[in-house]
């Protein structure tokens, strides 16, 4: 009878794991076409798909050096970050892309793919800017919110959105292909795509061909595959077997320690309610609603009860008689006593505290005259 729920749980967990693996995005992180974070670019990828562009996100260098798919006019978008060496960049350059978009490229990428373009050290603050160039994509887009790395363009290149010397969007044609250098990667993220003409610029700049490979270079991209042949492995292979044996030993120990000597015994426990709970609750209500008048009258009545008992005053005695008797016994001023016992409700919390203290002192006096 215990097996069935276990079985069901197992099946559900397995199904969940399977679904997760099946639907896991192929890319992640900043500027990823699958990421819905502010720094992701899911919005741009969706926009491109809606305009008939077939977007393929990847984190594998192999996809970037081997353009597959239909047609011979293909675009490769290379995301920021990552580290590829010169050899990998050369492989990308030799792969035969007809249009390459470099988003915030480093020096090595520029040397290989966009000769003449140099990374300038200046940084453009993020604000709306005019294109200031003839690039059709930029002219159509008009004002765009840009900001970020800037690059210096070689003569002959179309350079847009800059401060006059350096620019953030540069298009040049080399070796029979178009290369766009985009410094302002943030303009195309989910966060800023809707601003100004950002979306128009992105569509016109990137969506030139029907096939777009969206490559996000990774840090370990170079040389893991050929690492085995190069040097001694970091982990000796024997350790793997020891780890498996260790895992088995841990399993055995877990079974040894985990088995209980019979089930836990259930028991119906009584409800525990403290008798004073209602009184304490009412005290909190008094406090919350600042019911000083009610509190004061309770304290006064209580003190009067004690005085009645201590002085043998009849229960039905009128206030002046009570005050006279108590004043005679304690030597207090009758007017003040009257105010204390029958006065108006206290006006603030400190007055209530004072009243409580005075009544306390009075009843104590009565007990020890």
């Amino acid at each position: 009878m215990l097996r069935l729920p276990l079985l069901v749980t197992g099946v559900v967990v397995l199904a969940a794991v399977f679904v997760m693996i099946a639907t896991t995005a192929t890319t992640s992180g900043p500027f990823s076409p699958d990421s819905t974070e502010p720094s992701g670019a899911r919005a741009l990828a969706t926009l491109l798909k809606n305009h008939g562009v077939d977007v393929t996100g990847t984190e594998l260098l192999d996809d970037a050096v081997d353009p597959v798919g239909r047609g011979d006019r293909k675009t490769l978008l290379i995301g920021p970050n990552g580290s590829l060496d010169r050899y990998d960049w050369q492989r990308i350059a030799d792969a035969g892309w007809s249009h390459i978009v470099l988003v915030r490229p480093g020096t090595r990428a520029l040397e290989v793919l966009a000769p003449g373009v140099h990374d300038s050290t200046s940084f453009l603050s993020s604000e709306s800017r005019e294109p200031d160039c003839d690039l059709p994509a930029a002219v159509k887009a008009g004002t765009v919110t840009v900001g970020g790395s800037t690059y210096s363009a070689p003569p002959g290149a179309q350079a847009c959105y800059g401060d006059g010397i350096n620019h953030t969007v540069i298009r040049l044609e080399t070796a029979g292909r178009i290369v766009d250098v985009v410094g302002t990667s943030r303009s195309f993220t989910n966060e800023q795509l809707a601003d100004d003409g950002n979306a128009a610029l992105a569509l016109n700049l990137i969506g030139t061909h029907a096939d777009l490979t969206w490559y996000l270079p990774q840090f370990e991209s170079g040389g893991v595959d050929n690492g085995d042949e190069d040097g001694p492995p970091l982990v000796p292979p024997e350790v793997r077997y020891v780890a498996w044996a260790l895992a088995f030993a841990v399993l055995v120990v877990a079974l040894w320690r985990g088995r209980r000597l019979g089930p836990v015994v259930p028991e119906r426990l009584p409800v525990i309610v403290h008798a004073a709970e209602t009184t304490e609750g009412r005290a909190r209500l008094y406090r919350r609603s600042r019911a000083r008048d009610r509190a004061a009258s309770a304290l006064r009545e209580s003190a009067l009860g004690k005085l009645h008992k201590a002085h043998g005053i009849p229960r039905k005695a009128d206030p002046s008689a009570v005050v006279a008797t108590v004043a005679a016994r304690t030597g207090r001023d009758p007017a003040m006593l009257y105010e204390l016992l029958y006065g108006l409700p206290p006006v603030d919390d400190s007055a209530l505290m004072y009243l409580s203290h005075e009544l306390d002192v009075l009843t104590q006096e009565v007990r020890h005259p």
């Binding site: 040894w256 019979g262 004073a276 005290a283 304290l299």
Partner: protein
């Protein structure tokens, strides 16, 4: 199937084996196979826990706070069973022993003793007996459970019985053994005796004096064979905790002391525990049977979180009491409940019987009213004062209506109720 530490050690040795001698898949496979085979063989060789024959004997009832001893007889018709045996009880049964070690060769019997100190009133049922039988190699074994039913009833502790001797002494003073000279309501004629200087002259029986020639007195003694009905409210008013036990438990304590005292005074005591329905009902047991029957009836009564229906209480009491009797109602003094539920229906009881209403006061309220260091505490003191004033108001109403109210803290309620009973008896109001 259970594994032991030895199986873990064997697997750990396997790790060393793989690391040093056979760092390969076959090494790992060999270790796994050896451990599995050894454990499997050991498990098959272990004696079957299910074939054991178990039975119980021992205590059926114990006073709360004292120790019960329950014995478990284990007979083994099969292969030798060596390992552990756990006699499982609910936590509040208070099992004192760790799991028993068991080494039972074929055909032998053992007597295992489980000590219980229950922590709560009521029936505690044995849950299951689990036996773990380890194989001869000590690597693995089998485990199985048996149902061996047994019930230990934890009875109300009757802590207030320490007050009984002093109250019995007071009872003897006003009982027939010290004859009364004053005739009053609720007394009956006891005997005649000679006048001694100092005796009340009003007690002289002139007719007997004339007959005998010397002065003779009449003596009286309190009436006997009165009926006392103890009614315990087991509704929500008795559920609140005062100190470390619910009001209900303090009320039971007081009820037991009163029952013991009244029985010794020659009165007939009956018991009713009631909320929306009757939970315990003992009608006029034989004098020597009063305490055992009360304690047994009360053992399983728990406070229900419902409002007590006093119409049920009144009709039940009226139904079982013929002559004028003492009705002791142990309940709470909640002003709203008393005014709305009890007062409208208690009229018939008040007219026909003597009513004592006993309630356990909460010392926490006194403490709450006395501490007034900051604003929160002042509001607490005001609230506690209001509660006390309300209780005093209700007490006054009940007293005016003719009932006697006993409102005392938990440690005082039982002797106070006994004293009230003695006072009523002395005044001849029964």
């Amino acid at each position: 199937m259970v594994l032991t530490g030895r199986a873990g050690l064997l697997a750990a040795a396997g790790v060393v084996f793989v690391a040093v001698l056979m760092p390969s898949w076959s090494g790992v496979g060999l270790v796994v196979a050896v451990v599995l085979v050894v454990c499997l063989v050991d498990m098959l060789l272990a004696g079957s826990p299910r074939r054991l024959q178990l039975s119980r004997e021992g205590d059926n009832a114990v006073r709360l706070g004292e120790q019960a001893v329950v014995q478990l007889l284990v007979a083994n018709p099969g292969r030798r069973v060596k390992g552990l045996l756990r006699d499982a009880w609910p936590p509040s049964a208070g099992v004192q022993d760790p799991p028993h070690r068991l080494d039972l060769p074929h055909g032998e019997r053992r007597r295992l003793v489980t000590h219980l100190v229950p922590t709560r009133r009521g029936d505690r049922q044995a849950y299951r007996v689990t036996v773990r039988s380890i194989g001869p190699l000590g690597f693995a074994g089998r485990q199985g459970s048996h149902q061996v039913p047994w019930t230990v009833r934890a009875l109300p502790p009757f802590n207030s019985r320490k007050h009984l001797p002093s109250r019995l002494a007071r009872l003897r003073e006003l009982d027939g053994r010290t004859a009364l000279l004053v005739r009053g309501q609720g007394t009956e004629f006891d005997s005649l005796r000679d006048y001694v200087p100092g005796d009340d002259v009003r007690s002289i029986d002139w007719r007997a004096t004339a007959r005998r020639g010397n002065v003779v007195l009449r003596t009286w003694r309190p009436e006997r064979d009165r009926q006392v009905a103890i009614v315990i409210d087991s509704g929500r008013m008795s559920a609140g905790r005062v100190g470390d036990a619910p009001r209900l438990d303090h009320a039971m304590d007081a009820a037991l002391l009163l029952a013991a005292l009244a029985t010794r005074a020659g009165d007939r005591v009956s018991l009713l525990a009631c909320d929306s329905a009757v939970r315990a009902d003992v009608r006029r047991p034989a004098p020597e049977d009063v305490l055992p029957s009360f304690v047994n009836a009360l053992a399983n009564v728990e406070a229900e979180l419902v409002q007590t229906d006093f119409r049920v209480v009144v009709s039940q009491v009226l139904e079982r009491l013929g002559q004028r009797s003492l009705v002791v109602l142990l309940t709470g003094l909640d002003p709203a409940v008393i005014e709305e539920s009890l007062l409208p229906v208690i009229g018939p009881l008040l007219r026909r019987h003597v009513i004592v209403l006993a309630s356990v006061a909460d010392p926490r309220l006194i403490e709450l009213e006395a501490t007034r260091a900051d604003l929160t505490e002042v509001y607490g003191a005001a609230s506690a004062a209001r509660t006390r004033l309300d209780r005093e108001r209700v007490t006054a109403i009940l007293t005016r209506a003719g009932a006697t109210v006993v409102d005392e803290p938990p440690d005082q309620i039982a002797p106070a109720l006994a004293d009230t009973y003695l006072a009523l008896k002395k005044a001849g109001r029964l």
